[in-house]
């Protein structure tokens, strides 16, 4: 945005309400413009314009309004939207939620500045994601395959090991046949300090820190900054992907904190609330973050997004996971039941989904039997789980022999296929072979999702024949 009018300073504050300042007597202030607030003690805070009519501006203060007085406070309008100077040297560094260095290291020579809100990618220039990413995790690679340029969130609950899983994905993710590693951009949105330390330690230990940029807004820092943090992170991601040509993995955690901040600002503005008090535009707002993933024609790089969110009360119909699920290309759902059974990663495959899976798998990408194996795993496991609840009512002994085999299959599936070590990196062939070992436990005519010739080729029984 042009800074036609330069910096203007005003001091008539009519009202302070929650995180909002209402400033009167302003002129030539533009929508979404960035603001600097100087308190009477000389300290400074930042904010932006949310609503502007002739001479009244509504300003949202990122750091909160605690301590601001109506007299002696100066409000400066900076004549531009919030921007981030970007550079390749930002990898390996740690920033606060507004994109300012906090690691005490040397200043970075600032590159070009970009509006953190970005612009929507023209759908006509997007390239459909189709490069298989091997995460080394069977439940993901085998049944909910991630592809480069996808946005695949982890729906978790408080206390579940989503951070460990995200870190395992970040460490193990690779594209078959390419040595190129992903650069990771990590946005911590209102997370606890120990979670931050967990991530930081991990990146340091693995020597990955020099290909990671971290943007950190901690739980005790101002909530309003959370609205900015993911956008700052994605602005750097877009620069690195589309101008430098790198493959970027963006981890956003925890999007639930983001949505809470959105609700807070909405109610401070006295807007008509939508479901459970979240604003009616939360869908569009979340989309303006999640849609900043993908690949485009004519550019090398890509952005793959793994947002993490904790479902309040493990409820997947809560507005935050619900709206997210409508925007993202699938979801990985973690289950408390599996976790309590001692299964890591506790991925509930039945509720999980990768919408872009079909493009990333099959002959030449993973293996020709992949899609049939995945279909069959779903069919057999869901039948086993159904029978499990039936057996709980009428007793296992009243099930027929066939049904009991499915029951056993479900148990084996959880113990052998789902369960793996936090440092266990299975290649996709191993994952599929484990699935075939499990199929051998079922009668062959129950494998209705697999074609005859595929069974002949991969079923352990027939393999033994050869």
């Amino acid at each position: 945005m042009s800074s036609l009018y330069g910096i203007r300073e005003y001091s008539r504050i009519a009202e302070i309400r929650g995180p909002l300042l209402i400033v009167e007597g302003v002129r030539k202030v533009s929508y979404d413009e960035i603001v600097e607030v100087e308190l009477s003690d000389g300290s400074r805070r930042r904010g932006r314009v949310l609503d502007i009519s002739n001479n009244i501006a509504v300003v949202q203060v990122f750091e909160g309004t605690t301590g601001i007085t109506t007299t002696g406070t100066k409000v400066r309008f900076l004549g531009r939207a919030l921007e981030l100077p970007v550079s390749e040297d930002m990898l390996g560094r740690i920033f606060n939620g507004l994109g300012e260095l906090i690691d005490g290291g040397p200043e970075i020579v600032a590159g070009e500045k970009y509006d953190i809100n970005g612009s929507p990618i023209n759908p006509a220039i997007r390239a459909y994601p189709e490069d298989f990413i091997q995460t080394g995790i069977s439940a993901i690679d085998g049944m909910n395959t991630l592809v480069r340029g996808q946005k695949l969130p982890i729906f978790s609950g408080s206390g579940l090991p989503h951070n460990r899983l995200a870190v395992q994905i970040a460490r193990q993710a690779s594209v078959k046949g390419q040595n190129e590693e992903f650069a990771v951009i990590f946005a911590a949105i209102g997370i606890k300090y120990d979670d931050y330390i967990f991530f930081k330690k991990f990146f340091e230990e693995t020597g990955a820190l020099n290909r990671v940029a971290m943007f950190v807004n901690l739980a005790d820092e101002p909530a309003m900054i959370r609205l900015v943090t993911p956008r700052v992170a994605l602005t750097l991601a877009e620069y690195l992907a589309y101008e430098v040509g790198m493959h970027i993995l963006v981890i956003l955690t925890d999007m639930t904190n983001y949505a809470e901040a959105l609700r807070e600002i909405s109610s401070a503005r006295e807007e008509v609330p939508g479901r459970q008090g979240y604003p009616g535009y939360m869908y569009s707002d979340l989309a303006s973050i999640y849609e900043r993933a993908g690949r485009v024609h004519g550019k090398e790089g890509s952005i793959t997004q793994i947002p993490i969110l904790t479902m309040p009360n493990d409820d997947i119909t809560h507005p935050i996971p619900d709206l997210t699920g409508y925007i993202t290309e699938g979801q990985i759902v973690l289950s408390r039941d599996l976790y309590n059974k001692g299964i890591y990663p506790p991925i509930n495959v039945l509720m999980s989904l990768s919408r872009l899976m079909k493009e990333g798998i099959g002959k030449g990408k993973t293996r020709e039997d992949h899609s049939q194996v995945s279909d069959q795993l779903y069919a057999a496991y869901s039948r086993g789980v159904e029978l499990r609840s039936l057996a709980a009512v009428i007793g296992e002994e009243s099930l027929n022999v066939n049904d009991r085999k499915f029951l056993r299959f479900a148990d084996l599936f959880e113990k052998k296929f789902l369960k793996q070590g936090i440092r266990e990196n299975r290649d996709v062939e191993t994952t599929l072979d484990i699935a075939w070992e499990l199929f051998a436990e079922l009668p062959e005519e129950e494998l209705t999702n697999i074609k005859e010739e595929t069974i002949k080729r991969y079923h352990p029984k027939h393999r033994a024949d050869i």
Binding site: P120, P123, A124, R126, Y128, G274, R275, G280, V296, E329
Partner: protein
Amino acid sequence: MRVRGRIKRISGPLVIADNMAGIQMYEMVRVGEERLIGEVTRIKGDMAYLQVYESTTGLKPGDPVEGTGSPLSVELGPGLLGNIYDGVQRPLSSIIDYLNKIGSRRSIFVERGIDVSPLSRDKKWYFTPSALNTGDSVSSGDVIGIVQETGLIMHRVLLPPGIQGKVSWIAPEGSYSIVDPIAEIKVNGEVKEVYMMQRWPVRTPRPYRLKLEPSEPLITGIRIIDTLFPMAKGGTGMIPGGFGTGKTVTLHGLAQWSSANVIIYIGCGERGNEMTEVLERFPTYKDPWSGKPLMERTVLIANTSNMPVAAREASIYVGVTIAEYYRDMGYDVLLVADSTSRWAEALREIAGRLEEMPAEEGYPSYLASRLAEFYERAGRVKAYGSPERVGSVTLVGAVSPPGGDFTEPVTTHTRRFARVFWALDTSLAYRRHYPAINWISSYSAYIDTVSDWWSKNVDPEWKAYREEIMGILVRENELQEIVRLIGVESLDEKDKLILDVARMIKDGFLKQNAFDPVDAFSTPKKQFELMKLIIDYYRDATKKVEGGTPASRIKELLGRLYVDIVKARFSVPNEKLEMIYKLKKEALKAISSA
């Protein structure tokens, strides 16, 4: 006189301008120095409330606002097919070319204030005039010539609505651009030039002579739709479903396989990659009815979820106006909108900014009437003009209920206006039963109207078989309740057979893999034969069970043939139905010894 005013207030996509006396309701306006596109949604004194179709970041009070004198309109003419537009008909591919041409480094993004014509002014089309002579009387809707728009569609150039007079000149056969005059018509002594391009305001339905009853099925190749819950050409339908239940895959299937001539695909507040999928795949996919690339019959309207919300509200109208235009040429048009919930939410957002009194869940009270107006634009009609033409617009909207809850306002109101209800079921989707259309809660109001077509073109017994298959599914649903309480063993043998056959129907008929080359599309004949195979087996088996054979024994006798029946959907191609006859013979023989 164009109205010129000044911005007074900005709040998200809503801008209030003053000094706007004389502006019309729904007039299109240009806002700010960048001349962003907007539309008037309310007038109060000399103030106009504008919804702006692009991001309002950087607008300031005092910036100019200018009326354009006409309501938001679309350009109609050859060149629409195969194109992708945003919610206000800006051509997205041409925007990339334009940005590259001016050397922009940000050509992968949709930037603001770009003004590119929807239809190319430079491209020449080969126009063949109708047999018209000077002095012939013509009226609106008459076909004055034809242009081969794509390999699939012959574009009929229609005299725009509201013109009636005598031909004073018509262009000879040859190549013309859409802005070259191709005819002159004398209207009340005044000569009017006619072009291949015309404009039409999106919020006004295009006129037609007569509405007809939808009586012909829209064949989609999706078995559960065509056989159990059929759609009619000119009908209305809705697909509600929580996330991950396969709304988009079903809509892609409809766009890909259905027996319409023209497809309008509106991505309304959905994922960018889904539009990309259509855009990348459709040029390589073949239309099952003609063998030509699918893109030749498709127009895409894309307002992805991160594009400006106000344009989302407009995108539905832009799409349906283009649909009506091809309908008027005499084509069967299918419009799919993914998703109407996002459109309703856009309505809600704007209403909220206008500080209107909210009704249910914050939606404005006129939500129902807006939905009704939209679905009323569907229909099979006799068009104005000669030669006589019958065309249709079929509307199918996806609905994304929050939390998968079908009692929310958009779903409940849409149900009143859509006559086919394909309910997607989360529990089916979790089991990977696709399409996850629930056969108990879905319905179609067109079963009786299309059954004539089926009995004439496929088999006179279609309706009887269809009822029988539905009967089994409904009974199975009741039985499952009982089984959940007391187990299978306590059922009587006939009911156990129903459970077995229902499983066969689910796995071998209702499930359909949209990505399997054989299974993805079933001809009406194959659908019928698959259904007949299972029902004929059921009828014979029932006799055996009534004769005292236990259901488990029947299943044993069937043996491996069970697997063959269930897999027939992807092992028997459409053109090799004799394999089904053979399979049936073997199956009936296998159980005959019981």
